[in-house]
């Protein structure tokens, strides 16, 4: 058993051993081992994958949407102008929770997060959980969950990391992370500023032009982005087993609502969206007694202003508190039990105070694990949410992991998971003007998952291969439809999502050369199997969900030099079912393949580390649209310099 754990630890560490910033990545990878375990501990059979440190570094000049699109088999519907939503396993953006500490940062009014507004630079750890996890993560985690993590370094001294990068079309990123501490008290300040003029050229097909049909070379306008943010951590370690950690995340994201390819040649001025967020999470943990105690306190303020019109505010404030007890009765058996309470006050111009002033939510949960014998691990999770004037379903999940065989250099495991999931309708769904529908039922899903996992660890080669199949059924799926008079949110559909995911990660060493390759592929048919409206479409692939998506990543490390290339394929997607004369069954967006590459070098100047990098994106200058009528940039570059300074 010890040997198997060792192999797994080596595999994970090895995957990051050739990162661009070797000292940093080593740290990150070691920390992954530490922080990854709590997520998996009570979720045997769940598919949770960490984004490796080297890929986080490649993607740190952008937002998390670009990182996920390049390095995971997950589709994000995005334009170039700062709007991006995740569709994990074919589900809607509201079906992926985005967790920071004890907070799900998804907007309570809209139901989801704009992935263009989650800057990679601020985070050390990013985990993606595939498949339903409402029993662990609460409402909304039907398609999966994203975990944004901060590593605790318990700095003794002072360190400064900086990044400066400039790219095509006016892209600028300035970032700094200052670590200061004495090993017990630590302050970490993370700051970033990102702006993008986004005036890229593209081929405009000029739809509807009778007099001059054909494609013309055009230039995007009205797609500028300016994001800035900071995270201030203050952590105190009473002793090895007692800590107090806190993180304040401030974010302001502004962007023009990208003009479509149809609009850029008109005199139209773009509208804007201004988002402000305050997110605070503080957590006390005491592991001195057999019953470990964890208590958290948080606050979230979200506010969105449309086109500078402050009368049209859409926001909310919430207070969150959580307490959890955890005990490992033996190495084979353990449990945790907790409650999370939220007090929510919406601040939306279109809500009536008579209908909604506040809402309270209380989640009660229980999780346990049991290792039946060395080969089999079982987990059970139970969750019940209580909501003001709303009934949420009881949510159980069970998982298992079975080691089929192992020897000195490999492990082969099979795992499975069955989980119920749900989503409470958003505040907009329930309370928006006259159209909110307080009679909505929660969306209700079942997820079945089976996975095979093979790991190989030899002297010069380490490899891990995962193959997962899944089936998900979601009833009472909510869509906004035209009802008797108004457009209202309605429980109208039942959706079936099934598929197969393949992931591999291989490292091998040859003399002084280190290689790493990662392959991801997802096949995901998603269909409406029931639609209660008279014109509902069933038996067709859901809009903006590709059946096929895949990517490949190759990295070569030689002494202080790194070279990488990655390519991603996104299959055909339906943009509508109504189509056109030439596409009567629905408008299909063309598939596309994007390829990027980059080179970096580590230098030592005045005993400090300096990293230079050059990245070329979309090297084949592919002309494509991810969302219909929204142009995307062609070939572009980014040059960056980052430092890692130990002040003393």
């Amino acid at each position: 058993m010890r040997r198997i754990i060792l192999i797994q630890v080596i595999l994970i560490i090895a995957s990051g051993a050739f990162a661009q910033h070797s000292s940093l990545s080593d740290t990150i990878m070691l920390l992954e081992v530490v922080t990854y375990a709590p997520l998996k501990k009570y979720q045997a059979g769940a598919k949770i994958v960490s984004i490796p440190g080297d890929q986080i570094i490649i993607g740190q000049a952008g937002s998390i949407d670009q990182l996920l699109m390049r390095f995971t088999p997950v589709y994000l519907k995005s334009n170039a102008g700062g709007l991006s939503t995740i569709h994990l396993r074919g589900t809607s953006p509201n079906h992926t929770s985005v967790n920071f500490g004890g907070i799900n940062i998804n907007s309570l009014t809209l139901g989801h997060s704009n992935m263009s507004e989650v800057p990679v630079f601020l985070f050390d750890e990013i985990y993606l959980q595939y498949g339903s996890s409402s029993a662990i993560n609460g409402s909304g985690s039907i398609g999966g969950a994203l975990h944004l993590g901060l590593a605790n370094n318990w700095t003794n001294g002072m360190k400064l990391k900086t990044i400066l990068s400039e790219g095509s079309f006016g892209e600028q990123l300035y970032g700094a992370k200052l670590f200061a501490g004495n090993g017990r008290l630590e302050s970490v300040t993370r700051l970033f500023y990102f702006s993008l003029r986004n005036d890229f050229p593209f081929n405009n097909p000029k739809i509807g032009d009778i007099e001059h049909p054909g494609t013309v070379r055009d230039r995007q306008r009205g797609a500028a982005i300016e994001n800035k943010g900071m995270i201030q951590e203050l952590n105190y370690r009473f002793n090895e087993k007692e800590t107090l950690k806190s993180a304040l995340w401030l974010e302001q994201d502004w962007h023009e609502i990208q003009l479509t390819t149809k609009e850029i040649s008109t005199s139209m001025t773009p509208e804007t969206l201004d988002d402000k967020h305050i997110r605070f999470w503080s957590e006390y943990e005491n592991r001195k007694n057999p019953l470990n105690i964890r208590g958290g306190l948080g606050f979230v303020h979200d506010m969105e202003v449309y086109d500078g019109d402050k009368k049209q505010k859409i926001g909310s404030n919430r207070l969150i508190t959580e307490i959890e007890g955890k005990q490992d009765i033996s190495t084979r058996l353990g449990y945790k039990i907790g409650v999370k309470y939220q007090y929510i006050k919406p601040e939306v111009y279109a809500y009536s105070d008579e209908i909604i002033k506040r809402e309270q939510q209380a989640d009660f949960y229980f999780s346990s694990f049991y290792t039946a014998w060395d080969r089999l691990k079982l987990t059970l999770n139970l969750r019940q949410l209580l909501v003001t004037d709303f009934e949420a379903p009881f949510t159980p999940s069970i998982g298992s992991e079975y080691r089929i065989f192992s020897n000195d250099y490999s492990v082969f495991k099979v795992n499975g998971n069955i989980s119920r999931s749900y989503r409470i309708p958003t505040f907009n769904d329930r309370y928006w003007g006259k159209q909110g529908n307080p009679n909505l039922k929660p969306e209700d899903g079942m997820n079945y998952e089976l996975g095979l996992n093979y790991a190989l660890c030899k002297e010069n080669i380490q490899s891990e291969v995962k193959l997962n199949v899944f089936y998900m059924d979601v009833k009472n799926w909510i869509e906004w439809r035209l009802g008797a008079v108004e457009w209202t949110a309605q429980n109208v559909m039942e959706i079936e999502s099934k598929g197969l995911e393949f992931q591999s990660n291989t490292d091998w060493t040859m003399n002084k050369l280190n290689f790493n390759s990662r392959i991801n592929y997802s096949f995901n048919p998603v269909e409406t199997i029931k639609d209660e409206s008279p014109t509902g479409v069933t038996g067709r692939q859901l809009l903006y969900v590709p059946k096929h998506i895949g990517n490949l990543y190759l990295k070569l490390n030689y002494q202080s030099w790194n070279f990488f290339t990655d390519g991603s394929y996104t299959g055909k997607r339906f943009a509508d079912y109504s189509g056109s004369y030439s596409m009567p069954d629905g408008y299909e967006l063309d598939p596309y393949f994007l390829m990027n590459c980059g080179i970096s070098r580590k230098l030592t100047l005045l005993k400090q580390s300096v990293f230079l990098s050059l990245v070329l994106n979309n090297i084949f200058n592919t002309d494509y649209q991810n969302e219909r009528f929204y142009a995307m940039p062609g070939r572009n570059f980014r040059i960056g310099i980052s430092t890692n300074i130990n002040i003393h």
Partner: protein, 363 residues
């Protein structure tokens, strides 16, 4: 006998001349090609999908994407908000990008749409060589619509000659007694503009307004609706006597807030069909078509049809009086056209394009 032979010869000769004349002056828009119902499919705002479906109501055959068929497959970039016929011109009020598109009666588009001084066009009405177009203006304040206006468009030169400021978000337009009536969609009033002096006065209403129907005496019916930004004190159907601009309101709850065509006259103008929701036997609100009796100025107790979700609009075929009801709960899939006889009997249901809103009938 010879006389009869001469008559016959003369008849044949006249027929030959007539036939040759017909050949020299062929009909530009033959009735057999034009005749039909043309359904506007709005599509999904800013996401495309707008088209025209043609319905041959004699053969009961639908041709979807008729506009694209007539224009070598060209797809409109805009969403078609409203369709209007004046002479041999079909005008389309098109949004995102904003433009006024002109077509011939065969739905052939010869030139690109007019975009200059056209921002968020909604509705139109013609008087002589001018088309008056209600426009909401750029980046509107959706509560007050301070920058909305009427565009005075010259049909012959294809240019907007003047923008006449009219705050309040004008929607439906009608002309009567030398005045332009504009239903304000964001202000509880009907604006009345003197076409000669362009002076504007207002008729106060208990709700914001959407569309007009003009009766044979030149008086107007106006739909009164409730919106989130401007809640109504009373919704229903207003009647404006145009010689004194006095408004009388017949109350009706839950009048449709949809756009383009929420009401239509019956063939003989004795009734008005209006889209409005009501409660069914189980007190569930359902969409339907209510019937207004023009003579009694009252709504009939029973709706023409009910239990419809996703009711987008209603139009009446002036040839046979049949009522066309457009249904589309979603904007990304095909909608339905349900056809009823005047006594409310359903006899046809056809799939049309995405989000159908209205029809015009050409001969």
């Amino acid at each position: 006998m010879k006389k009869y032979f001469n008559y016959l010869l003369l008849s044949l000769f006249s027929l030959a001349i007539y036939s040759s004349c017909k050949k020299d002056e062929p009909e530009l828009f033959p009735s057999e090609l034009v005749k039909g119902a043309y359904i506007v499919n709005y599509g999904s705002f800013d996401k495309g999908g707008s088209s025209i479906s043609k319905y041959d109501y004699e053969k009961r055959e639908v041709t979807n994407f008729f506009d694209q068929q007539q224009n070598k497959g060209t797809v409109w970039a805009s969403n078609i908000q409203f369709i209007y016929k004046s002479g041999d011109n079909i005008f389309l009020m098109a949004n995102s990008p904003d433009q006024v598109i002109s077509l011939d009666p065969l739905f052939v588009q010869a030139k690109n749409g007019v975009t200059d001084k056209i921002v968020k066009p909604r509705n139109c009405v013609a008087e002589g060589i001018y088309l008056y177009i209600s426009c909401w203006g750029e980046n509107p304040d959706w509560n007050l619509m301070p920058n909305s206006y009427i565009a005075k468009y010259n049909i012959e030169t294809r240019m907007v000659e003047k923008k006449i400021a009219l705050a309040g978000g004008p929607e439906g337009l009608e002309i009567s007694n030398g005045k332009l009536y504009a239903a304000l969609n964001f202000k509880k009033a009907v604006a009345v503009m003197d076409l000669t002096t362009e002076a504007i006065s207002y008729i106060e209403t208990p709700a914001v307004c959407s569309y007009f129907l003009k009766d044979n005496s030149g008086n107007l019916y106006v739909s009164l609706i409730s919106s989130y930004s401007t809640p109504a004190t009373q919704t229903g159907l207003g009647y404006i006597t145009t010689n004194n601009n006095i408004l009388k309101v017949t109350p009706l709850d839950n009048v449709s807030t949809e756009y383009a065509s929420i009401m239509a006259f019956s063939k003989d103008k004795s009734k008005i069909y209006i889209a409005a929701a009501s409660y069914d036997a189980n007190w569930v609100m359902v969409g339907g078509i209510q019937v207004f009796n023009v003579a009694t100025k009252k709504f009939e107790q029973n709706s023409l049809v009910s239990g419809i979700s996703g009711l987008k609009g209603v139009s009446v075929n002036p040839v046979d009086g049949n009522i066309y009801v457009f249904v589309s709960p979603s904007t990304t899939s095909n909608g339905l056209m349900k056809i009823y006889s005047e006594d409310g009997k359903a006899f046809a249901e056809k799939a049309v394009g995405a989000s159908p809103t209205m029809a015009i009938f050409l001969n």
